[in-house]
Every structure is written in C-alpha cells, then in structure tokens.
Amino acid sequence: MFAYISRRIVYVIPIVISVALVCFLLVHITPGDPLVAVLPADASQELAAQLRAAYGFDRPLPVQFGLWLLRALHGDLGNSIATGRPVLAEVMRAVGNTVTLAIVAAIIGFTMGILLGLIAGYFRETWIDKVATSFAIAGVSVPHYWLGMVLVIIFSVQLNWLPAVGAGPNGSNSWAWDWAHLKYLVLPAITTSVIPMGIVTRTVRALTGDILSQDFVEALRAKGLHETGVFRHVIKNAAPTALAVMGLQLGYMLGGSILIETVFSWPGSGFLLNSAIFQRDLPLLQGTILILALFFVFLNLLVDIAQAAIDPRIKRG
C-alpha cells in the first residue's frame, strides 16, 4: 500500500511539469506577439525590442520555460497586465470563492446523487427507478448555464426571493457564512450541483444494481440477514468507485466553474479567467489555468490515495 502511494506520488511529478509546460505554451499559441497587450500601438522598434528583452521573450523557448518554471516554483507567476498586481495573489483570492461554491454544490449534488442512485438501483426496473433515472439524464444533459438563467428568471425575476447576481450585499467580494451572503449562494450552488447529481446517480445506480445481483448478496439473504444489513454491504462495496467518481466531479466543479460564475457574476476563479481572456491578460490567464489544473491533479492524487486506503482489494504494490 505504501509502495502504491509513493509510486502514485512520484508519478505526479512528470504530470505537474507537463501541465506547467502546457500552460506555458498557451501564451505562445496565441496569435501575434505576446507583447501585444502591453505594447502601445505606436511603439517604436527599439521599445519593442527593449520590452521583449525585459520580459525575456528574446530567449529560446526552452530557456524561457525553465526560467518561468523556476519563478513559478517560488510562487512568482508574474503580474497581471490589467491590474499590475501579482497573479498568484489575485488567483488565490478568487479560488476561495470558487471552493466555497464547489463544496456547497458538492454537498447538495452528492447527497442527492447517492440517495437517488441507491433508490434507483434498489428498485431497478420499477417506476421509482425510471423517475430517478430521468432526473439523472436531465442533470447530465442540461446546459447548466441555461439552467442558471432559468432559476434566476423564476426565483429572482418572477418571485423576487433570491438575488440574481453577485456574492454578497452591495457587491461585496468577501465571503461570510451568514444569511445575507448565503442568499447569494443558493442559486449558483444548485446550478452547479446538477451535473454531479446526475453523474453520481448513474454511477451509484449501476454499482448498486451490480452488487445486488452478485451471489454473495443471495447468500446473505439466504442466511436471513435483514435488508438494512444487505444495504450496508452494498454501500461498503460501492464506496470506493463512488468516491473516485465524486472526487473527479469535485475537480470538474472547481475547474469548470467559469460558465456558472459568468452567469451569476460569482467572483471566483472562473470569473477571473473570463476577464483575463477578454482583456487579453495573458499572465493572469496562464496563472489561473495553472493553479486550477494543479488543484485538479492533487485532488486526483488524494482520491487515489483515499481509494487505496478504504478498498482492501487495491494492493497495487
């Protein structure tokens, strides 16, 4: 088990370096000069050359990557072109809001998904199963940004119960756990939770169905075990796979929040990414993507380790 974990950790290193390489290259696949955003339109050739040297753009790409990586390792992702502030600080401030949203959405989506999935799997091929499965299919097929709009139309425009955009009263950007702020979280969190709800439902339903059709369940029932006891076995057997799926979904919620954050003007990393794209703020774009991707890589690592820890069948030595 320790061999497995350490191997898994070592395997992360090349992944992290390649992720950094992809983020680094992003700036270089952009059409035109990476200087375009900083350089005034009427800049002279000398100024352009000076700036190019100052930013290090005149060196060969591998050298640039090495230097960039070295600075990134020290937490220096450069400064945002739009605000002039350090990228890392900007991203970290925004990521906090995204994490809040993702975790609340995960609690809603995973709870619903597990419950619906267990019920659907247990009552397979009955009308209960059909209802739960329809929910799941709708959840994975709905364009979530549109669902967000529809929820705003119903609960903000028509009923006027909940605020439509923002993350707190008076455009406040700092999160607090009180009702004044929570009101702003309800709609984005429900919107975010729909896809994981659908996927977890489908996973848990399939797992439950598979486990219930295995011989050992028959044996447990034949020995006279009560249905709640059978259920405990189902949960224990389904947990590792379900956990892996949920971990992945949490990662998708953190990294894929841009559409929902745009709909609700939620001041998180996705919103930051959106403004970085449209202001052509390449260092900010690069830094945000790097940090979100690293989050995802480490979350996957944690999930793998947790899975190995709770599943005695995993002895990938």
């Binding site: 992003l26 299919i137 994975v140 998708y252 774009l285 993507i289 979100l292």
Partner: protein, 300 residues
C-alpha cells in the same frame, strides 16, 4: 485478398445452414433499437431539428438577420411572431431554426474529428504497443490533468474567439478521451487468435489494423463517441455563450442566450428559448446513445 480470415469461411458456412439463418450483428442492433420507444422518439426529435435546420431557407421564415427597433422583445404568441422577437427585434422562430445550422455543426463536428483522430491514435497505440504506446498514452495523460471545460476554455481563450478556434479546442478536449477508449479495446483484441492467424498468413500491420481490428473495435468507440455529443453541444454553445465562439449577428443558440441575458427582466421566457433547444438536442443524443449502448450489448 490473401488474408481472408478463417472465421469468414466459418461464418459463410453458418449462414448457409438454413435452420439457423444468422442475422448480421448490425441488423440485430438495428432491430433492437427500432423496438426501443425512447430511442425512436429521440431520433424523431433530432431528425426534425436537423431537417428544419437544413431546410430553413425554404420554410418561409422571416429573415433571421433583419431586426426592427419598433418590435423588440415581443412576447411568445405575438401574431406573426409565434416565439416572439429578440433584443434587436428579430424573429425568434427563424433565429432558433437557423441557429440549428451553426449550433449543430460546432457541437457535432469536434466529436467527429476527435473520433477520427482518437481512433487512429488509439488503434496504433494499442496494436503497436511498446514505446510508441507509452509515448502516445503518456501524452494523452497530460490532457487528463485538466478538467475538460477548463481545457476547452484555456485553448479557446488563448487562440481567441472564433468558430474554427472553438471547434479546434473542443476537438483537443475529446481526442484524449476517445484515444483512451480506442487503445483499451484494441489492446483487448490484438492478441486474439484471428489476429494471430492474419499475421501468420502474411498480412502487414496496416492491413491487420484496418481489416481485422478496426471492425471489431469500431462499435465500442462509436458508442462512446455518441455519448460525447451531448457534452460537446453544451460546451460548444457554452463557448459561444462566453463570447469565445460564434460572433454576432450569426444566429447560434449559445450566442443568442448570451445576447438575450440582458432581456431576462423584460421578456424572460423568450430569453430562455435558445437554451431549451440546446437542452433538447443534448438530452436526445444522450438517450439515443444509451439506447444504442444497450442495443449493442447483445450478450446481455
């Protein structure tokens, strides 16, 4: 063809036997899916949407580009404008139907491209194995380190707005996923006896991959690819919704949703219409893909 497999003659023998007239695999799949009501209903809805998009210019619709300041944001059910008008006074019905043209292309084309590229990569990686497999699959792993929405937005954001860029970025998102599936099914088939037999009778690697392996793995990869269309439709429209795909005044569902966002206080249900189209197409493809999957799972 010198590499005619032994199994082919065996199949011919089976088919010749009158009592057990073996039906082809795909014919069986077709019959099974034709009996599935949900799949057929979805296929019908999709057929209607596709046909109306293709035939849009001949349906006698209003001009989807022509607006009018005096008839902006009419409600659903207005005389002459059954689905209302948008923020520039353009007929919503016409825009929704014309919008299908671009929306369907930018949603489905990335999956088709990724299907071709991913299948080739996966087939080569799975059949050749060894160092080439490691090289291809480890490169693919890097893309798995990004959540797919983030990857699509990162590439689109770096390349800049535009239809081509949006198709490119979504193709890059789906290639790794299809490659992984293709590689794993190919690895499962490559050591089977009929491949060995073909190799023994002198078939080259290209012929084996094309004739013997592709036919056996294409079905699984195809089903997997159809399940991606729903995601691709949502993401493609999402990129346009963010302003990274189609540019105004083109009618496209994601972009329409974006420009109508400001209208939700005036005429909310008209504003929500383009999203309903994305939802309809996406859920139909999902259900159809599920139906296809269970129809192809013949052993079950």
């Amino acid at each position: 063809m010198s590499e005619l497999p032994l199994s082919a003659t065996a199949d011919a023998a089976l088919q010749a036997a009158p009592a057990t007239r073996a039906r082809g695999y795909w014919a069986t799949v077709g019959r099974r899916i034709a009996r599935d009501k949900v799949s057929m209903a979805c296929a019908l809805v999709l057929l209607l949407i596709f046909l109306s998009a293709i035939l849009a210019p001949w349906l006698g619709l209003e001009d989807p580009y022509k607006g009018s300041m005096i008839r902006r944001l009419r409600h659903i059910g207005t005389v002459g404008y059954p689905l209302g008008t948008d923020e520039l006074g353009r007929d919503m019905l016409a825009r929704l139907i014309y919008g299908g043209r671009l929306s369907l292309v930018i949603g489905i084309l990335p999956v088709i491209l990724a299907f071709c590229i991913g299948t080739s990569l996966g087939l080569v990686a799975g059949y050749v194995g060894g160092k080439l497999n490691t090289a291809i699959m480890r490169t693919i792993d890097v893309f798995y380190a990004f959540p797919s929405v983030l990857l699509a937005i990162a590439i689109s954001g770096a390349l800049g707005a535009g239809i081509v860029n949006s198709i490119v970025s979504l193709t890059v998102v789906f290639v790794p996923q299809i490659t992984r599936v293709a590689e794993s099914v190919t690895t499962g088939v490559r050591n089977m006896d009929f491949v060995e037999a073909a190799r023994a009778s002198g078939a080259g690697p290209f012929t084996i991959m094309r004739v013997h392996i592709l036919g056996n793995v294409l079905g699984s990869i195809f089903v997997y690819a159809t399940s991606l269309i729903s995601v691709s439709m949502i993401l493609a429209a999402g990129l346009s919704f963010l302003g990274l795909g189609t540019k105004p005044p083109e009618p496209e569902w994601g972009l329409m949703l974006n420009t109508l966002r400001t209208a939700i206080y005036v005429n909310p249900w008209v504003a929500a219409l383009p999203g309903a189209m994305i939802f309809a197409v996406s859920i139909c493809f999902n259900l159809l893909s599920d139906g296809l999957r269970s129809a192809m799972d013949i052993r079950n």
